[in-house]
Structures are given as C-alpha cells and as structure tokens.
C-alpha cells in the first residue's frame, strides 16, 4: 500500500523541516522516500493548506495502574459530567478527570496523539498498569518503573553494596516489569513516611536506612546511565507543593552529578517563599538552572482551572495535602514495601491566590526555558489538569494576547507576583512540534516515532490551519497510525490497539536468586511472579506487539 500526502505544510523538527510545503509518502505503514515516477499510488490525500506533523507523544500521563483505578472508583460524580456513549465502532466509557481506558485512547487519538507513557508503574503493580494500557486503544504506550522507596534498594544502599549490584537490580526491574524507563518519586520519602517521617529534604537522612534522597538520585541516575537506558532517570523531586521547594529542586538538578536527569512536573517544585503570603514564583531560577544544565530536562505539569483529581505515588506529599481535597475525600496507601500512593480530588480555582500563581509559574517556566528540546508539554494528567486541556495550553503558549487576557481574570494578588504579563515570547508551530513530537521521541530513545523521515512509523497528524490554535489542535482533520486513517475530523473512524515500547538491559542473573530469597523471606508474593511475560503483554494489549528498544 503506497500513499501520497500532497501539498501539506510539514513541521518535522527532527530533520529541520520548519513549515515547508512538501509531499509525504507512506508505504505499508512507514514513511518512505518519493517512489519512482512510474509507481502506482494507491491512495492520495490532498493536504493543501493543511499543517502536518508526526503523531504527538505524551511522555508523562497517568493512564494506567492502581492509583488511577482508585481515582476512577472515587469519582462517579465526575464521570457523570462526561459520559461517553457507545457507537457502532467505539464502546461506552467515561471521560474528564479520571477517564476510562477506552475513552482515554479514543480522546488522545482524536487530539492527534499516537503514543502515551505512564510514568509511575509500581513494580508490584506493573501487571495491572500494562493490563490498563493494553485496554487503552488507538495509541502506543509504555511505562516507567518506580524505584527509590522500595526496601530492597534501600537495604542494598544502607549495606553499602556495590553500584554493579544496584545496576543489576534496576535492569532486572526493567525486564520484569516490561518498562522503558526508571522513575523515582520523592526519593526515599514514600518509605520514610511509613516510618512516620513527614518530610524528607534532599540531604536529610531516612531515619531507618540513613540514606538521603541525594544518595538515591545518584545511584539510580548512575544505574540508568551505566545500563545504557536511553530515557534519563525520571525524577519527581522531594518536597512537592511546599513553598520554598525550589531550593531542593535546584539541588536535585545538580544531584545527578552531570549525568542525564529529567525533572517531571517541575511546576509543582518551583515555589518560593516571598511576599506577604510566603508563596511566590521561583520559575526564573528554575528556568535558568535548566537553561544552564545541558544534562537536565523537564516537563512542566501545567495546572489549568477546574475540577480534576491528583493521583501520585508520593504518599507523603499527598497525605500532607489531604486537607485540600475537593470534594473532601482522599485515599492514601502504603504498598508492599515497594511504594505507596495518594489520590485526592482537587479543584483549581482562578480566583484562588495559590492556584492562580501555580498557573502563572507553569507558563513562566515554559516561556523562560530556552531550549524546546528539553522542556515537555504536560499537565501531569490528571494532576494539573486532564489531558484534554492540551489544545488550550498550546494556545496559551502560542498566543500572548490570549494569555494576557486570561491572566487579567485571575486572582489579583497572584497577578502582582508574576512576570508572565511582560514575557513576550510566543511559541511557534515548529516549537510545539518539538515539545510534543521530536523531543519526547528523542528523550525516550525511540527512533522511529516523533518524526516523518523515511523509515519512521507513519503516525501522522493533519490539522486545518486556524489562527485559534486551541480550535486547531482540538480536532485534527486526519490522524494516521501506521499509515491508516484512525481519526477523521476529530472522530475515531477505526479502532486499533497500539503497541508497547520497552527496554530490556542486560544484567548478571545472580541477582535473581537474591531476589527470590528476599521475596520468600519478607514479601507475600514470589519474586518470579512479578515477572511479566511477553505473551501476557501481547494478550493484555489485544495482540499488541511488544517492542524492545536498544540500550546504548
């Protein structure tokens, strides 16, 4: 099957293509070079006047796993505001803050996204995370396995074990849980909370193990680097949400000692203590640190106003914030000497001083961080806002007058404490294509998505040009996945199930006996039962391929 996509304005920043009108060709699901003049084109799409990008990639979105299912169970009232009807093609589900997996897949695709990565896969819960992602249609998916508060690692560190052994454990975890990266959440803090520690600053010792968050960041970033895992250590820093936490965030950026490090939802970690209310923006300091640290990248975790739910592995921070839940209910869980979680419904209000400033801080970081290859567009779905708000966020970034109009409606005290109104920068379409396509693929080490050169998987999104970028990005005219049209005019026209992306670094199998012994002695499940087989993944994903990407 040979397709020709004619006359679209192409944004393919991975190859320096910035709004050039050109024809694209797809052969059997992949991009291909222009064919010989006499070759028959099976189907032609006239894309004159259209804007063409690769399928978008969300590199940090909570789409699968136990904490999202807790959120779903907690929020029937939110679901009822956005029920999804069945059609001849698609199944019924629910949307908004904690959408069902079916609606999640449909709606991501309808917005032009073709790949999503779940950033908090607890190793003991990995099978559920993959089951949920498997039941998420339309998009490719992958997960980051969470380490750093698990007693096995903390015991290795407290015993002063060799980095090599820690590397083996990290590699075993990636293999067993079929993930593509390693995430650390409030390093050591989830464990410390089980010992009734309520705070754990970057250089503060875990009261039982005696290790600090900085120690954990150092060994994990080194493990990820030495194993050659393409995605840098994915870090949810200490002190989430606390005024003054920008200091520990700056420390965290340096803690990897020059190795690659990715700071996630950095907006929640960019707070100062200035002003009458002792809460201020430290976006300038954080953006400067990112700008001057080439080994660091971040995603923003923008908040947008309205009802949502916060679901995090950071049980310590979520318990601390539990009084802010709206509606007033929360779930906190300690999990299997492995991790934890906390789920709180939350309503961000534009007239609330803190919420308004959070909104401004996120946008300041987007606009002050200079290198679009190291800043990623996320709301930390659903923690800052549901992913369906992305088109609105894109417009805020691309349209200064729209942004400033919105700013003028917010809490006035917050307006006085942000420099946002004076920032002139407007993102270009090319930069949006970097943030949402080229850069995430590069950061994940997946070579054949996020771009449109010959050889790439033909995941393509086609937009009707519209000065209102929110309208434009809400409803693409076409979304191609593997060269097939799956969305037409913003509606699903073909249901597919995507594939899984994983890495499987090599390791010394000696660690396996040690894990078996540890699990048999202390845990309540056999270590070998944590391991998810390729056949299981295939079945979870409705026949999905499980791709293993090379480690460096």
């Amino acid at each position: 099957m040979l397709l020709r996509l004619t006359g679209g304005r192409v944004y393919d920043p991975a190859h320096g293509v910035d709004g050039v009108v050109r024809d694209l060709f797809v052969r059997d699901g992949r991009m291909t070079a222009p064919p010989a003049a006499d070759e028959r084109i099976d189907r032609e799409y006239d894309l004159s006047g259209r804007i063409v990008m690769a399928g978008a990639i969300d590199m940090h979105t909570h789409i699968g796993g136990g904490k999202m299912n807790i959120a779903r169970q907690m929020l029937p009232e939110d679901h009822r505001s956005d029920l999804v009807r069945r059609t001849d093609l698609t199944r019924s589900s629910c949307g908004h803050a904690a959408p069902g997996t079916l609606a999640t897949g449909y709606r991501y695709a309808e917005m032009g996204y073709t790949a999503c990565f779940e950033p908090a896969v607890l190793p003991v819960n990995a099978r559920q995370a993959h089951m949920e992602m498997g039941d998420t249609p339309m998009v490719d998916k992958g997960g980051y396995a969470m380490l750093g508060s698990d007693d096995f690692l903390l015991r290795l560190m407290a015993a002063g074990e060799d980095q090599k052994l820690i590397n083996d454990y990290v590699a075993w975890t990636l293999n067993a849980t079929r993930c593509i990266g390693i995430k650390v959440v409030n390093p050591g803090g989830i464990s410390a909370f089980k010992f009734n520690q309520r705070m754990l600053d970057l250089d503060e010792k875990h009261q039982y193990y005696g290790v600090t968050p900085r120690d954990i960041l150092r060994v994990l970033s080194r493990a990820v680097h030495e194993l050659g895992v393409p995605h840098p250590l994915h870090v949810h820093s200490s002190n989430l949400g606390l005024p003054g936490n920008f200091e520990s965030t700056l420390g965290t950026i340096r803690a990897s000692e020059g190795l690659p490090i990715h700071l996630t939802h950095i907006q929640f970690h960019s707070y100062g203590t200035e002003g009458d209310r002792k809460f201020s923006s430290a976006a300038a300091q954080i953006a400067e640190a990112i700008n001057s640290t080439p080994n660091a990248s971040c995603d923003v975790g923008q908040i947008l106003f309205g009802q949502t739910v916060t679901a995090s592995g950071d049980a310590m921070a979520q318990y601390r914030n539990s009084g802010l839940a709206s509606p007033k209910k929360f779930v906190i869980m300690d999990i299997e000497c492995d991790a934890g979680c906390g789920v709180l419904p939350f309503k961000y209000r534009d007239k609330n001083f803190v919420n308004a400033l959070q909104w401004a801080i996120g946008l300041e970081i987007f606009l002050l961080a200079r290198d679009p290859w190291r800043v990623f567009l996320t709301t930390d779905h659903p923690n800052g806002a549901p992913f369906t708000t992305y088109p609105h966020l894109i417009r805020l970034l691309m349209d200064r007058s729209f942004r400033n109009d919105r700013l003028a409606q917010l809490n006035v005290d917050a307006q006085a404490l942000t420099t946002l109104g004076s920032i002139e920068r407007e993102y270009t379409l090319n930069e949006i294509a970097i943030l949402t396509r080229a850069a995430p693929a590069k950061l994940l080490g997946i070579e054949d998505i996020g771009h449109l050169a010959p050889g790439a998987i033909a995941d393509i999104t086609v937009y009707r040009d519209n000065a209102d970028r929110e309208v434009m990005f809400t409803s693409p005219e076409y979304v191609f996945k593997d060269g097939e049209v799956i969305v037409r005019d913003g509606k699903v026209v073909k249901v597919i199930w995507g594939r899984y992306h994983t890495v499987q670094p090599e390791y010394d199998r000696g660690i396996e006996q040690r894990l078996r012994d540890h699990y048999e002695r202390y845990q309540t499940i056999r270590a070998d039962h944590l391991r998810i087989s390729a056949e299981e993944m295939h079945a979870f994903g409705h026949g999905a391929d499980v791709l293993t990407h090379p480690c460096r």
Binding site: G64, G66, M68, N69, R72, Q73, M74, L75, P76, H79, V84, R85, R86, R91, S92, S93, C94, A98, P99, G100, T101, L102, L122, V124, N125, R127, Q128, M131, E132, D135, D151, R155, F193, K194, F195, N196, Y208, Y319, A325, K328, K329, F330, V331, I332, M333, D334, I335, E336, C337, D338, V343, E520, R521, Y522, Q523, T524, I525, R526, H529, E536
Partner: protein, 423 residues
C-alpha cells in the same frame, strides 16, 4: 497446555484462586485430572482444587453441544429487553469479555459479592481511607486489630502469612499484638502471643469507632459505654492504638452484615485518619474472593464504574441500589439472568422465574434447572488467567494445572458475542 500425567507430578509456586489472599506458594500434585494440595494449602484450597472436573452443557436440562448451548444463550440474549450479567465470579479475561458483552447488549453488570463490597465502596467514595497491603503488615505492623467475625474462615492463611512470620525487614523475631473486636480469636489459629478480645456488639461498632476517634483526638466523653462495652475499655484501646508505631485494623465486609454497615466502615476509616495525625496506622479491607475485586478493577478501568452499572442507555449508568441483582429480580426489571460462577459450584444463581443462563463450575446443583447450563473451567486450574489479590495491587498470574476440555468464561462469552453478530 501441560500434559496430565497418570503418575503424579509435583508443581510448586502455584497461585491459589480460592480466596482473596491468592497465596502463590502452594505445592500441588497433579495426576490425570486430580489435583491434591501437598503444602501451603488451607481448607479452601483443598476443597477448591479437589472439586469435580466434569460436566457437559445442557439446554433446558437436556445434554447439548457447547456450540448449541452457546447459540441458545445468544438467542436468549438477543431477545431479552434488559439482560443482567450477574455472579461474575471470573478472572481478568472473563471480566473483559463480560464488559464487552454488556456494552453490546445493554446489560447490567453486578457481581455476586457486590452487596457486601459496597459497604467499602460507599465509604471510599464518600470520604476515602488510609490503607495498607499484606507485605507491609508482615514487616511493619506492631499492632493488629481484627474487627468482628472470623476472618480466618474467609482468609485461612492470613495470620500465618502476615503475622506469625519469623523475621521482618526491620527486626529479627516478630512482635505484633493482636486484638479481636467483637468476637474472640478463632480456635486453632496460631498467633505470636495470647490475643486480647474486646467483647462488644458488632452491629454497634460504629459507636465504638466514633468514641475511639474522639478519644484519640483528646476529647472527653460523657457516655459511659459504647457498643455494649464500658468506655474505659475503649479509652485503653485508644491509648494502645496511639502508641503503635505501625498499627493496622483489618475487617472483612461480609462480617459486617447489618443495615447501613457502610457507616460503621466509615467511622472506622475516619478513626484511622485521626490516628495518622501523630503515628502511622492503616486499614486493611479484606476482600477479593470469587474474583470480586478483579472484576471490579476491570470494569472500573474500562468504563469508570464498577458493579451495578447498566449499559441499557448506550452509556454507563451506575446506581448502587437500582441495579442490584436482588432489586432487578425482585421488581421484575430484568428478563434474562446470565449467571457466572467459575470458582465455586456452591455459588448458584438466586432463585428466580426469570430465564437463566449459567456459566458455572461443574457440579452445580440447581433448585430450578436453568434454560442453559455451560460448565466452565476454573482459572488457575483448568486454564491460565489473572486474579487480583485483596489489596487490589498485586495481580497474580494463574497457571493451568491440568488438561481440560472446559472452556473459559472469556471464551464462552466471546463465542456468545460472535453468535450475536451472526444473528
């Protein structure tokens, strides 16, 4: 598929699907189609693995082929105006197939354990809770309070696996005080020390949790007793709970079988929240038997709603009361019952005159012969599958232990769906 040898072969690290603990350390012998638990078993495992293995489909009581029974089930389903898919004791794949079929046919989904499970769900949806999981208890708990009844009959190895272990991650030897609320420690259970029992009326425990919460918060109470026990007893317990480093309170909702027990669960959970102001304390809502939490999990992730959801209007419509099996049958609001029970032949459908299709474990004895009976395999015995444990965190892979001609629930439901398509 493993061959079923005539001479016994021993299988280790078998996961047991017959209660919500899903212990995965069993040793069983398999000879032909007979399975004998050799080690790490319990009463439920012995019964479950040892149950009848043969059976053939029936239509109106007469033997039929699987294809004919499937076709008849599809015919009944396609002519029903408001089908109910109940029972639903199955594994992840069975739940996925049931959800798909319900969406297609506009059926109501309701698990056989939902009435009890909602005592927890309503609490969680109204005010939330702080909970923990089995391995945390095994390693951290220095105080365990057990609410009501006899959790050992439902979860036989709970104490063995979580309380009487020798070493923990943090200590050599184990010290965990156990206090039973409402009923004495069951006979024959080994505990680390002599358990304490607080005698009180289980149905009035809500009062006790309220009093405990107030005392934990430092309030003085004028009442002299709560739940039939003197206030001094509750004051002592409050002090003991506050002194715990990592306390746990465990309950199993079937034991709280009285009107509005969800309010008792809520009072318990609010008490646990109060304890966490100064120490660490967590609840352990025990469940997961008959695949209840497994099926709930699948329904939740696909659609946002669990049991008692109707798809009759083309979108999920969830109501914990309106769409309960007993209500629908009692008010004549369903005209076809699809009953699924793949773990336990004793879980037969409720007595009803509504035409019934049963996908059940062989050996089921019916008060009234169903319109269609299709014997199905048991996940973890006759075919592979996945089951969530009581904590809804760990999803264990279940293996196939013997060669079996019994179809899985998922395969039967998928065949029914395919037959609907052809109609």
């Amino acid at each position: 598929m493993p061959a079923s040898p005539k001479t016994p072969s021993t299988v280790t690290d078998v996961a047991c699907p017959f209660c919500g603990l899903v212990c995965d350390d069993l040793v069983v012998d398999v000879a032909s189609d007979t399975i004998t638990v050799r080690a790490n078993g319990c009463r439920l495992a012995t019964t479950g693995f040892g149950a009848t293995t043969v059976g053939e489909p029936r239509i109106a009581g007469r033997p039929a082929t699987l294809a004919a029974a499937t076709a008849e089930a599809a015919r009944l389903l396609s002519s029903a105006r408001q089908p109910l898919i109940g029972g639903l004791s199955t594994d992840v794949d069975g739940a996925r197939a049931a959800a798909r079929l319900a969406d297609r046919t506009g059926a109501v989904l309701d698990h056989m354990n939902a009435a009890a499970a909602f005592r927890n769900v309503l609490t969680m949806q109204d005010s939330g809770w702080i909970t923990t999981t089995l391995s945390e208890i095994r390693n951290r708990a220095d105080l365990l309070v057990v609410v009501g009844g006899d959790i050992v009959s439902r979860f036989p190895r709970f104490f063995e696996r979580c309380i009487v272990n020798q070493d923990t991650l943090f200590s050599e030897g184990r010290q965990c005080e156990v206090i039973f609320l409402g009923a004495a420690a069951p006979a024959g259970v080994t505990l680390p020390g002599p358990p304490a029992t607080i005698s009180c009326e289980v149905a009035r425990l809500g009062e006790a949790f309220g009093a405990l919460r107030a005392q934990i918060a430092g309030r003085t109470l004028t009442a002299t007793d709560a739940a039939g026990a003197p206030m001094s007893v509750w004051q002592q317990l409050a002090t003991r709970m506050k002194a715990a480093k990592y306390g746990v309170i465990a309950w199993a909702v079937p034991d709280l079988d009285f009107p509005h027990a969800e309010l008792t669960v809520q009072a318990l959970c609010e008490m646990v929240k109060e304890l966490n102001r100064t120490t660490r304390f967590a609840g352990l809502p025990l469940g997961g038997s008959e695949g209840d939490l497994t099926v709930e999990s699948v329904f939740l992730w696909q659609t946002g709603f669990g049991s008692r959801t109707s798809f009759g209007q083309g979108q999920p419509d969830h109501d914990a009361h309106q769409f309960a099996t007993a209500q629908l049958l009692g008010r004549g609001e369903t005209d076809l019952l699809f009953w699924i029970a793949s773990f336990n032949a004793a879980r037969t459908p409720p007595t009803t005159t509504v035409p019934t299709v049963v996908l059940g474990r062989p050996g089921m004895i019916f008060e009234r012969e169903p319109a269609v009976f299709i014997p199905v395999g048991t996940p973890g015995v006759d075919h592979a599958g996945h089951l969530f444990r009581t904590d809804r965190v760990v999803a264990l892979p279940l293996g196939q232990l013997r060669a079996s001609s019994l179809p899985s629930v998922a395969s039967v439901l998928t065949a029914v769906e395919a037959a609907l398509q052809e109609r």
